[in-house]
């Protein structure tokens, strides 16, 4: 045996066993589950070292011990102090071996003793295994249908987390196949999945996770060469796990039955990737071990402990936020109370000085000795009283300061809990960009900066889809093929950067690529072609102004709508998201050098800077970022045209509508000369809304309205003023529509506009919901060509919201969508009194009879498949359904 290798082994053994022993000794006081993981790591290290050295007994012993602790960690075992003592004894034996002048001899000598330990340790487990087997048998009998729901739920959670981790680490591994840390993490992630799957007896998945783990573990020991092909195969495995995570628990068994062959063949493929190790000879292994050994001594990356994350129910957080808010309101009560006591104190001082005056005048005349004593007594008491009250007041004031500070801190902290790192939304992108680039034969490196930047949960959710579009755009249209890049003198690998940071109170997110950038002239041509503006004006517009046209819905420079991006809808979705949260977006580019898109978004949606006004005697709030202007005008300055009031703002005539009219609230009777007006404007319209009075500017903490209330027109959410009274936050975009409807619906002023409004009513409105932008774009064009007014939604939830907010004549929806799928959407609609008459068409990729049935059973009128998709079918069906529905209403 190689003496050098043996020496290394001994130093390893010494180090890890020492570690192990000290950890075990702390167990005597308390057994902390968090200590188990490093303990197992130690054992695994000794195990693999002894395997290489062919010390079977030590190997087996470590294996048993590590299995034992693994079970303990999963809560399947308990440990008694006697066992710990035994383990410490084993450690001592190991240490003796390591310190012996001739370790090999020592091992042979102790062979018997070690084998004895092995039997004992194994016996701890066999008991356990029997139990487990029994459990399994019992489980199996009743399991098919009756699987423990909480366990399944845990599996889902575990799968979701680990799949995200796997995806991320695999992408990193591909870029740097030598990265041992990634391999180690990957091994751990697959191991966790294995554990979770085993708990619920999903053997197929256990096997899959197991071979993946094997692969990573082999690769980690340098026994495996990582190629692009192997990464691809592993991604396939991750995809299966990902799909599993999205499947309803009741359908898991049937899904696995369906996919079993596929999974098993994949398992074989992954296995064959790692087959090589087994044929490799020990010599080489030892050499590699040596190599690894030397390496690992040189670089030892510091272990970074990730921050612990807890799952807390949203309800608890809301309760906490409510209570923290109330404690803040309560703390504010103290100040006025303190002020009132100060006034009393002043009053007391007055009384005292009066008394003093009286005493003075009495003293100047003759007084009896008794009175004199009484007066002395009185003065003393007054002094004590005065002093004590002052002291108490100071104490109260200090308390008030502390208490209000504390409440403030609690409140801020609670609001902080709404923040998540930017990482949460971008973790899916490296995989997506990688797959996309490979399918387009491009080479792209995605760089993400500022992953720790805290972002409000609500904003984070809204970011995923728009960012996805921008990245797809960047890979598809931005980055050129490697040859083109080389020809242009750029590095072959294109780079895309996503950066998030806080910038003076706003969240700035930048997506930039070093690709060719949009062809400005092409955009200019397209604008003129689409008759958006005259060619004259187009020529005068600056390049950056031209780019703004890219954000219009349905505007696309690419002639073909590819699977990846048609551009038409993508940028519009980005724009909509930005508008929704009250942010802004800017595109800059350098021809041939790249494009940069920057969004500026509010850091949180839970705190809103707003203008508080009184309407019908109650407080309402406007978000400051949505107000054009707030001003007071004199009644004299209001002019009348055809019975409509308006005033002049600069050179524009602005119509005035009373807020209580729009909100259908009782009018406030007070009359005043000065009228407070809030001016709202959109691209097309500008309105002045008259209110009772301005209250002031405040930062409000936004509370959602009770779901049971349903959608309240013109109101987005609620909040509380400092005194705890409720205030409603108005939604400016909805208000604009309401005003528009109000004006149109109420009094048609002259004939031309009334004709217009009738014509408007005849235009049928269709909502299409699909998570594929391509399909949206296609359907959008088809239907718009037929003269329908078409709106789009990227998922079921968005669709439902839009349906509730507006009047639609038809819904066309996909089945597979994020957040809320098509079936759920239809079911919800059919339960809703107002929406249940709405005709629904399903357009889906799924073309099995079962899918059709479940779609129709949910309440859809027609089921079309995308595969048999022909232009006229959709339009004709749509026209028919709308017509039938219209007739049935009459």
């Amino acid at each position: 045996m190689d003496p050098h290798l043996l020496q290394l082994f001994c130093s390893d053994l010494m180090k890890f066993t020492g570690d192990l022993k000290s950890r075990l000794l702390t167990f005597n006081i308390t057994i902390d589950k968090e200590l188990i993981t490093p303990l197992i790591t130690d054992l695994e290290s000794i195990k693999s070292a002894s395997q290489i050295m062919n010390f079977t007994t030590i190997f087996e012993l470590c294996k048993s011990l590590s299995a034992f602790f693994e079970q303990y960690r999963r809560g399947q075992l308990t440990i008694i102090p006697d066992q710990i003592t035994l383990f410490v004894q084993i450690c001592d034996e190991f240490l003796k071996i390591a310190e012996a002048p001739n370790p090999q001899q020592e091992i042979t000598k102790k062979e018997q003793k070690l084998a004895g330990f092995l039997t004992i340790v194994n016996s701890f487990q066999t008991q356990k295994e029997e139990l487990e087997r029994q459990d399994k048998r019992e489980d199996h009998e009743g399991s098919k249908v009756n699987r423990d729901a909480t366990m399944m739920n845990l599996l889902h959670v575990e799968l979701k987390t680990q799949v995200a981790n796997l995806n991320q680490s695999l992408v990193k591994l591909e870029q740097n196949p030598q990265n041992k840390d990634e391999l180690y993490s990957l091994m751990r992630f697959s191991h966790s999945i294995k554990g979770a799957a085993r708990v619920v007896n999903l053997d197929t998945i256990v096997k899959l996770a197991h071979v993946m783990e094997d692969f990573f573990s082999a690769a980690q020991k340098n026994l495996q060469i990582i190629t692009e092909e192997s990464i691809d195969t592993l991604f396939l495995g991750v995809d299966i796990l990902q799909r599993l995570a999205s499947i309803d628990e009741t359908e898991i068994d049937s899904w696995i039955d369906l996919e079993r062959d596929k999974i098993n063949s994949l398992v074989k493929r992954i296995e064959s990737l790692s087959k090589k190790i087994k044929t490799e000879n020990i010599q080489e292994k030892q050499f590699l071990y040596l190599l690894k050994k030397e390496k690992s001594e040189v670089i030892k990356p510091p272990a970074i402990q990730p921050e612990r994350v807890l799952r807390v129910s949203a309800q608890h957080l809301n309760n906490l936020m409510g209570l923290a808010g109330e404690s803040l309101v309560e703390s504010r009560w103290l100040q006025p109370f303190l002020d009132s006591i100060l006034i009393l104190k002043k009053y007391q001082d007055d009384v005292f000085s009066n008394v003093n005056e009286i005493v003075e005048t009495m003293m100047s005349s003759e007084i009896s000795p008794k009175t004199s004593i009484l007066i002395k007594e009185l003065k003393k008491k007054m002094n004590i009283l005065g002093e004590k009250v002052s002291n108490r007041l100071v104490e109260l004031e200090l308390f008030n300061l502390r208490f209000s500070n504390l409440s403030d801190k609690i409140y801020r902290e609670v609001i902080e809990t709404r923040m998540r790192p930017f990482h949460d939304v971008v973790e899916v992108f490296p995989r997506m960009v990688r797959d996309l680039a490979r399918s387009l034969n491009k080479k792209v490196k995605l760089e993400i900066i500022g992953e720790e930047t805290p972002v409000d949960r609500d904003i984070l959710e809204k970011l995923e889809i728009p960012l996805g579009h921008l990245l797809r755009n960047a890979v598809d249209h931005g980055i050129e093929l490697p040859e083109e890049r080389a020809a242009a003198g750029k590095p072959q690998i294109g780079s895309i950067r996503v950066e998030a940071k806080h910038l003076g109170g706003v969240l700035a997110i930048t997506v930039s690529d070093d690709g060719a950038g949009p062809n400005i002239e092409k955009v200019r041509e397209k604008i003129i072609e689409n008759k958006l503006i005259t060619s004259d004006l187009a020529a005068r517009l600056s390049d950056n102004d031209i780019l703004d046209f890219l954000f219009l819905p349905g505007f696309s420079t690419s002639k073909t709508v590819s699977e990846i991006s048609g551009r038409g809808m993508g940028l519009n979705i980005v724009q909509n998201m930005v508008n929704e949260v009250g942010g802004s977006v800017k595109v800059t580019f350098q021809q041939g050098k790249g494009t940069t898109i920057q969004f500026l978004l509010p850091i949180t949606l839970s705190i809103l800077r707003s203008l508080i006004v009184q309407i019908a005697g109650e407080p309402y709030a406007f978000s400051l970022s949505h107000i054009n202007k707030a001003l007071t005008i004199n009644r004299k300055d209001i002019q009348l045209i055809e019975n409509k009031e308006y005033f002049k703002l600069g050179d524009r005539n602005v119509g005035i509508i009373a807020a209580h009219h729009i909100l259908e609230l009782p009018a406030k009777t007070q009359y005043s000369e000065e009228i407070p007006i809030v001016v709202l404007s959109s691209l097309a319209n500008i309105f002045g809304i008259s209110v009772d009075s301005f209250v002031g500017e405040k930062e409000l903490v936004v509370h959602e309205l009770d779901k049971r209330l349903g959608k309240v027109q013109d109101v987005s959410s609620g909040a509380f003023l400092e005194d705890g009274s409720p205030v409603l936050i108005l939604n400016p975009e909805e208000l604009m529509t309401s005003i528009d409807n109000f004006i149109k619906g109420n009094k048609p002023i002259h004939i031309s506009s009334s004709k217009e409004s009738i014509a408007k009513k005849l235009v049928k409105k269709i909502l299409i919901a699909d998570d594929s932008v391509t399909v949206l774009e296609l359907e959008y064009r088809l239907l718009q060509n037929r003269g329908y007014e078409v709106s789009t939604a990227g998922n079921g939830e968005e669709a439902l919201r839009k349906l509730r907010e507006g009047q639609y004549d038809l819904l066309i929806t996909d089945i597979d969508m994020p957040l809320m799928n098509g079936i759920e959407l239809i079911r919800t609609i059919k339960k809703d009194l107002k929406l249940k008459a709405l005709p629904v068409i399903i357009v889906s990729y799924k073309d099995k009879e079962g899918d059709r049935e479940s779609g129709l059973a949910a309440g859809a009128d027609v089921y079309l498949t995308k595969s048999s998709f022909e232009e006229d079918i959709l339009q004709n069906t749509a026209a028919n359904l709308i017509k039938i529905n219209e007739e049935s209403k009459l």
């Binding site: 409510g322 005697g617 109650e618 259908e664 609230l665 309205l705 009770d706 609620g718 509380f720 409720p726």
Partner: protein, 190 residues
């Protein structure tokens, strides 16, 4: 003397006594099932009602109600601040039809009117509603036998939300059927 006392205390228990005691114990146990209810008694306008304590979450002092734009449902009084959360406030006055006369049925709860009022939060199967009441009387125990049935004319009408009538002195108190009330509220708000 002590001997005699000892003798007296340690004497054999007569059989019939054992039987009698067992009988009493058995009997008492049979009688224990809930024979009492405790209720919160409160006033809405001129009428008194009783809400089962198990459905009572909290009683709170007066606070402003913010009315809801575009909503014409009479039983929806508005939004109130309950422990720092925006809660939906129901008009039990409208739900139970205690307003009677036409001019009163337009009663609007918005703002801080009716300074004397209280708010009651009731809970049933994970759902809660808040409503203003004009006066709180007290919490009182009743024997279940004291609940008298409601007149058939009322019981058969669709709008009956009472389980029965309780009497305090000469006063009739409507004992609310919480389950029906929660169902009725969701039905009316749909």
């Amino acid at each position: 003397m002590t001997k005699n006392i000892k003798k007296l205390l340690n004497r054999e228990i007569p059989d019939d006594y054992i039987e009698e005691s067992t009988d009493i114990l058995m009997h008492e146990q049979q009688q224990t099932p809930i024979s009492q209810i405790s209720v919160l008694i409160f006033r809405l306008e001129e009428e008194w009602f009783a809400l089962d304590i198990s459905a009572l979450n909290e009683i709170l002092g007066n606070r402003p109600i913010h009315c809801i734009p575009h909503r014409s449902e009479k039983i929806l009084a508005g939004l109130v601040n309950i422990r720092g959360q925006l809660k939906l406030c129901i008009s039990m006055q409208h739900l139970l039809g205690v307003l009677g006369a036409k001019e009163k049925s337009d009663k609007n709860f918005c703002g801080t009117k009716n300074p004397g009022r209280f708010f009651v939060e009731m809970a049933h199967q994970n759902s809660t509603w808040v409503f203003p009441v004009d006066e709180i009387y007290n919490i009182q125990y009743f024997d279940i036998n004291q609940i008298t049935n409601i007149p058939d004319t009322l019981a058969k009408s669709d709008s009956n939300l009472l389980k029965g009538i309780l009497k305090v002195g000469a006063r009739n108190i409507g004992y609310l059927d919480v389950d029906l009330i929660f169902k009725e509220i969701s039905r009316r708000l749909q």
